[in-house]
């Protein structure tokens, strides 16, 4: 079920290496190796969900792996908290609101969690990419939202 997953490194789409396979050695640490039948390379994979850091030949490489639904969600996050001006965030996929971390009047710092949505059996934090004051919270925990539902409005 990796068919719709998109891999990005340094904001560019990347295709996995042909003929190489990953073998996990120490799951607790994320330590494994890449093999192609002729050679092997030790590799460390740390992270969860869509965000990973792969350590290869001593270099830490941030890698995102997202399904199209997660990419839509990230799109919603950006819409909700756009770089400038007043913005309304709308859900772009159906999901369950798990938690709402802010109330009207709160000031949120850049990177702070606004709310958590469960979609595709994955929890996703919607974070604020800029600081601002919350002027409307349109959803509650436990509420199921459909595409187009208003989530949060930032000043």
């Amino acid at each position: 079920m990796t068919g719709d997953l998109e891999i990005r490194i340094e904001d560019e789409s990347v295709t996995p290496a042909e003929g190489w396979r990953f073998e996990m050695i120490d799951p607790a640490r994320g330590f494994g190796r890449l093999v192609n039948g002729a050679a092997s390379v030790p590799v460390l994979v740390e992270g969860s969900a869509g965000d990973w850091v792969v350590t290869l030949h001593g270099r830490r490489i941030p890698v995102t792996v997202r399904s199209w639904r997660e990419r839509m969600l990230v799109g919603a996050e950006t819409a909700a908290t756009g770089r400038a001006g007043r913005a309304a965030g709308k859900a772009t996929l159906p999901g369950l609101i798990l938690t709402v971390a802010v109330s009207v009047g709160d000031t949120i710092d850049e990177g702070g969690t606004l709310l958590t949505i469960e979609a595709m059996k994955m929890q996703n934090d919607v974070r604020a990419p800029r600081s601002g004051r919350v002027i409307e919270v349109a959803v509650r925990p436990g509420e199921t939202v459909t595409t187009g539902t208003l989530l949060i409005r930032l000043e």
Binding site: M1, T15, G32, V43, E46, A49, H57, I61, K121
Partner: protein, 496 residues
């Protein structure tokens, strides 16, 4: 019989552990010290006891003379080993140790004082017939003609500095006035002394140091040289012995100069005399450090002499035996320093917590580490994580062994310089031994785009782990999530 029953180590990290190991082998009970940031540090766990000396800030703990002396007295230690850095070259501390009735594992305090003045050391070396880098031998005044007479480019150096700190490059007469003001201000704030001097900048140049060991009975052993030319910010990253750049006559000239410099002071214990070597194999005295060096292990590997054990024995009054006096160098040793630094971003320090820690082993490999898996890296201290050393019959074999050892090395959680080191062992100038202090600036450079093949491999690993994590139990923490997923996957596969 052990030279002491109890010894306090006034340091932290890998060097504290190195001294603890020497104590164990000598039958001495080691006592460590720790700041509040180091309560769970590895060096604390390996000592017989540890004394708290203060808050995380070095000034209030590892540099707090009164706190360290009080800890030593409290613990019943008979001697103090300072390691390197922190208080190791502080004459006031050395005096305080002796006033407290304890043995100082180091040279006489007056020697630390005179060598701490780099300008005075420069004059003394010149008077002893040792070549020094062209430049001033007195404190600089505001007269720009002093510098114009030396020629450009040149380096302004703090007389109270050393070890690569307090240096400033000046390329043209127009920069002199501003550079002088800035260098004096920096020297005053960093070392409490604004005296600066100037040296002609030599390039290309290698940085070579000679290891000395002296006892309290006037015997002085010369234990070979180390080539420390691979540096960033004038600080060493890689050291090897013997130097691939010198032959027997240059080596003997360096040893002779080192003996002459040592003869200018009342000296016992371990010391290093540092030189620059130009392309014509002329050498020039830089400074003498009367303490253990970070890179001492390289010399231990090729000579078989345990420098730390001998520091302690010499401090207790034991004479150096002929086996140490005439120790010869065998094979080739190389050390690389694993730092929590980002070589893809100008070697800037990185902080965080070590998540995975796999060090190499096997024939001819030595690792002196101060951290392990799950160690937090306090931002207050030096980012040195470990020193990886290899020893082999000759230099090509040592380079092959180092490459193999680096391929076994895996560190997670923080960016380290391991990627740079792995690049280095394939770099032609390093493999040929034909490098100089400009290697990092000229060959590693600043442009570090990620090669296509590495992108593809990273993608392969990430998507495999993500795919396995799709079956992860919800609410798992980041650390265990991937792991549980793999366990789940394994169970499912087994049930098929």
């Amino acid at each position: 019989m052990p030279p002491f029953s109890r010894l306090l180590i006034a340091n932290r990290g890998e060097i504290a552990i190195r001294v603890i190991r020497a104590c164990r082998e000598l039958g001495i009970s080691p006592v460590s010290v720790h700041s509040d940031a180091d309560v769970n540090a590895l060096h604390v766990h390996l000592a017989d006891a540890s004394e708290r000396i203060g808050p995380p800030a070095p000034r209030e703990s590892y540099l707090a003379i009164d706190a360290v002396i009080a800890a030593a007295v409290r613990s019943g230690a008979e001697a103090i080993h300072p390691g390197y850095g922190f208080l190791s070259e502080n004459s006031e501390f050395a005096r305080a140790v002796e006033v407290a009735g304890l043995v100082w594992v180091g040279p006489p305090p007056a020697t630390l004082e005179s060598l701490g003045n780099k300008l005075a050391a420069r004059r003394a070396a010149q008077a002893a017939g040792v070549p020094i880098v062209a430049g001033t031998t007195m404190a600089l005044t505001d007269d720009p003609r002093e510098l114009e007479a030396i020629g450009f480019p040149l380096m302004l150096k703090a007389s109270a500095g050393g070890g690569g700190r307090g240096m400033r490059r000046v390329d043209s007469p127009g920069e002199v006035a501003d550079a002088l003001v800035a260098a004096r201000r920096e020297a005053l704030s960093a070392f409490g002394d604004g005296t600066v001097y100037a040296e002609r900048l030599l390039a290309p140049v290698r940085h070579i140091e000679v290891q000395l060991l002296g006892d309290r009975h006037g015997r002085l052993a010369v234990l070979g040289e180390r080539d420390c030319s691979i540096q960033r910010r004038h600080q060493k990253l890689v050291e090897e012995s013997p130097s691939p750049a010198i032959g027997p006559s240059t080596r003997e000239a360096l040893f002779d100069s080192a003996r002459r410099v040592a003869g200018t002071v009342d000296f016992h214990n371990a010391a290093t005399v540092e030189f620059l070597l130009d392309a014509a194999s002329n050498h020039y005295f830089l400074e003498m450090n009367t303490r253990l060096q970070v890179e001492h292990g390289v010399t231990e590997l090729v000579t078989g002499v345990d420098l730390v054990a001998w520091q302690i024995r010499v401090a207790a009054g034991q004479p150096l035996p002929d086996a140490v006096m005439h120790a010869s160098s065998r094979g080739h040793a190389i050390e690389v320093r694993l730092y929590a630094e980002d070589p893809y971003n100008d070697f800037q320090p990185s902080t965080g917590s070590i998540t995975a820690w796999q060090m190499p082993a096997g024939p001819g490999v030595r690792v002196d580490a101060g951290v392990g898996a799950d160690t937090d890296l306090p931002p207050e201290y030096d980012p040195l994580l470990a020193k990886l050393m290899v020893h082999a019959g000759d230099r090509p074999a040592a380079v092959d062994r180092l490459r193999r050892a680096l391929d076994e090395t895996v560190i997670g959680g923080v960016q380290t310089d391991a990627g740079f080191l792995r690049w280095l062992v394939d770099d032609a100038s390093f493999v040929n031994g034909a490098y100089d202090t400009g290697l990092i600036a000229e060959r590693w450079g600043i442009d570090h785009g990620l090669p296509e093949d590495q992108r593809a491999l990273a993608a392969t690993a990430a998507i495999a782990v993500r795919a396995a994590s799709e079956v992860a139990p919800r609410h798992a923490t980041d650390r265990t999530r991937a792991g549980s997923a793999w366990a789940d996957l394994a169970r499912r596969e087994a049930m098929r």
